[in-house]
């Protein structure tokens, strides 16, 4: 028993080195055969890695937009268009709520010292926004609750505005005209680091003003969009039901007056979507693997026919049928494994390039690598089985007669 195990190991070791020399001896043909598997595995790896990279980018964008935030959009009723400052104070006071930032934005014409820029995004911010984004202000001061209460005409400007209007001049203390109204610049802020996909949703703003001032500029007295920051350890379900309880009386229990959207629900939807995407794309790519497997089978069948004499000779020299079968099985296994490993490397390289182009995160998924290598090895054994069996069943006489 021990002897037969040992001799099997010796055999398999020998088969591996023989199959490598056979594969190497037929470089061009082996390469062409391996190509099918290589393309299949490359496609599977590149697609899965890219999709998971993109989805993790999207997920982190959502997180940067606000982990643990809830957005509320108010449609209002006939009696009440939106929330007023006091309503916000009521909601902020809830135990489940850490703070609220209203979203008030306008597009404006900016004028300073004879220069004019149109279509500039101006955002109304609450002092709580600066509490959350402490290091956004690079020079000067933040907008605080006094500015809010006084509806002050003060603003923060982005680096882009500074470059356009204040070349080589310190902008702080200067006056800038927003839609003709003079504002005093009290500080500078840097671009929101969570740009990219987040910017598509939130819009890039170049000027921040107190939200109360923004409301006044829009000639409205109510807030229709705001983001709620949940207190620590509170689930989004619990927070949204607390918000509902507080907001229902504000709209006299009228239906469809507001919508609450939690980030969790968006993330769940995204996850399901990307999961479906990678399954679908992986499925399509694995067709290429099957085609590659057929290529291997074809090459192995040709090899068996070509090496009939070798098989007969080995049988005459005392090789048993299973030893011949193992030799051919190992050869097809090695062939597709080489394709699989090369495919994984190429696929990772391709998705690295893709992630640079798309601007998504590059995530090496161990699952995808295991899938690529495992699948190609399985293809080698599966499609190598029939040719190997054919070889092992050759009658040594018939095989020798072919010489």
């Amino acid at each position: 028993m021990l002897k037969s195990v040992r001799s099997t190991i010796i055999m398999i070791h020998e088969c591996i080195s023989m199959s490598i020399s056979n594969i190497w001896g037929n470089k061009v043909r082996s390469f062409l055969t391996v190509l099918g598997i290589l393309i299949g595995v490359t496609a599977v790896i590149a697609l899965i890695t890219t999709v998971s990279g993109v989805s993790s980018s999207i997920a982190s964008s959502f997180t940067s937009l606000g982990a643990g935030t809830i957005s509320v959009s108010v449609a209002g009723s006939d009696l009440k268009e939106g929330l007023i400052k006091e309503d916000l104070a009521t909601l902020t006071a809830l135990a489940e709520v850490d703070g609220i930032t209203p979203t008030v934005s306008l597009r404006a014409q900016i004028t300073h010292a004879g220069k004019t820029s149109s279509n500039i995004n101006v955002s109304g911010k609450s002092s709580y926004y600066f509490h959350l984004n402490e290091d956004i202000v690079t020079h000067g001061r933040e907008l605080n609750f006094i500015d809010e209460d006084n509806i002050s005409f003060v603003c923060l400007v982005s680096d882009e505005i500074v470059e356009t209007f204040f070349f080589a001049v310190n902008p702080i203390g200067e006056t800038i005209y927003i839609n003709g109204t003079p504002f005093t610049i009290v500080g500078r802020f840097k671009e929101d680091s969570s740009s990219g996909i987040a910017a598509i949703f939130s819009g890039k703003s170049n000027i921040f003003i107190p939200y109360t001032t923004a409301l006044k500029m829009n000639n409205s007295s109510t807030i229709t969009n705001f983001t709620v920051y949940m207190a620590e350890g509170v689930t989004s379900d619990k927070a949204s039901s607390a918000l509902e309880t507080a907001m229902d009386p504000m709209f006299s229990y009228e239906e469809d007056t507001y919508t609450i959207t939690t980030m969790d629900s968006i993330e769940d939807t995204m996850e399901t979507m990307t999961g479906m995407m990678s399954t679908l794309l992986g499925g399509i790519a694995s067709i290429a693997l099957v085609v590659g497997g057929i290529g291997i089978m074809n090459m192995m069948l040709t090899t068996v026919t070509e090496r009939t004499m070798e098989i007969g000779l080995k049988k005459a020299l005392g090789a048993r049928s299973w030893q011949i079968q193992i030799q051919f099985l190992i050869e097809s296994f090695m062939l597709s494994l080489i394709g699989g490993i090369a495919g994984v490397l190429l696929g990772l390289l391709l998705s690295l390039i893709l992630s640079e182009v798309i601007g998504s995160t590059f995530v090496v998924s161990g699952k995808a690598i295991a899938l690529g290598v495992g699948f190609s090895a399985a293809v080698g054994i599966l499609f190598g089985w029939a040719p190997a069996r054919k070889a092992s069943r050759l009658n040594p006489i018939d095989a020798l007669r072919s010489m």
Binding site: A316, R320, P396, I397, M403
Partner: protein
């Protein structure tokens, strides 16, 4: 049972079926060979001598008749047991040496030991010793296409002997060689036989057959004793 018989064939027949027709390749062959004998089977091509060699070499089984090799009835063995028997008892030499072109001389000689499960170091040592014995110690790492016909045949002889078989089966061992090289191979055969190994050689060449102790003739599947060349 006589213990000195290496093998004993009784009424061996081999038929091939080609469609409806039956070709009787071997007809009632009775042949006995003793341990240490050097026998040659002489016959023209198509006489059935290769089929006979395949049956003796356990590559093929007879249609009818008994074949006892070293006390074992070959017709009762499974294909696996036949493979083991080939590996332990029989060394084959073919007409055109049949070396694997992608392996060098020493690797070709090692081949039977791989299937017998011998460790690489031991294999190498034995193959080197065997190549030295056939006079090729300076050609061990040459590939078949770098060797002359005679040298290739010597490698094939080394390969046939490496498993220490009790019989050497040679099918036209000099068929592809010139006269001078053929003579050298025959001298090597004589040395091998002098060491006590049984040899059975198949040939169509009377001069080559004359190297053996005993010659039998085969024509159209019928075997006739040709007597001992030693006595002549």
């Amino acid at each position: 049972m006589t213990t000195s018989h290496f093998f004993q064939m009784q009424n061996i027949c081999k038929d091939y079926f080609m469609g409806d027709e039956v070709a009787h390749i071997l007809k009632n062959i009775n042949l006995t060979i003793d341990e240490g004998e050097y026998l040659s089977v002489l016959g023209p091509s198509g006489s059935g001598k290769s089929t006979l060699m395949n049956i003796i070499g356990c590559l093929d089984v007879p249609t009818s008749g008994n074949y006892i090799l070293r006390g074992r009835a070959v017709e009762d063995l499974t294909t696996g047991e036949l493979a083991d028997l080939r590996s332990q008892e029989i060394g084959f030499i073919f007409q055109n040496s049949q070396l694997l072109p992608r392996l060098n001389a020493i690797r070709n000689v090692e081949l039977p030991l791989i299937y017998a499960g011998v460790r690489p170091k031991e294999r190498r040592r034995r193959a080197a010793a065997m190549l030295e014995r056939v006079g090729l110690s300076d050609r061990m790492f040459h590939y078949p296409n770098q060797l002359s016909g005679g040298q290739q045949q010597r490698v094939a002889i080394a390969r046939a002997l490496i498993g220490n078989p009790s019989i050497l089966l040679a099918d036209e061992p000099t068929g592809a060689l010139d006269q001078k090289t053929g003579r050298q191979i025959m001298e090597l055969f004589k040395t091998i036989n002098d060491e006590g190994r049984t040899i059975l050689m198949i040939t169509h060449d009377m001069n080559i057959a004359a190297n053996a102790h005993r010659v039998v003739h085969i024509i159209d599947g019928v075997l006739t004793e040709g007597g001992s060349t030693k006595d002549a």
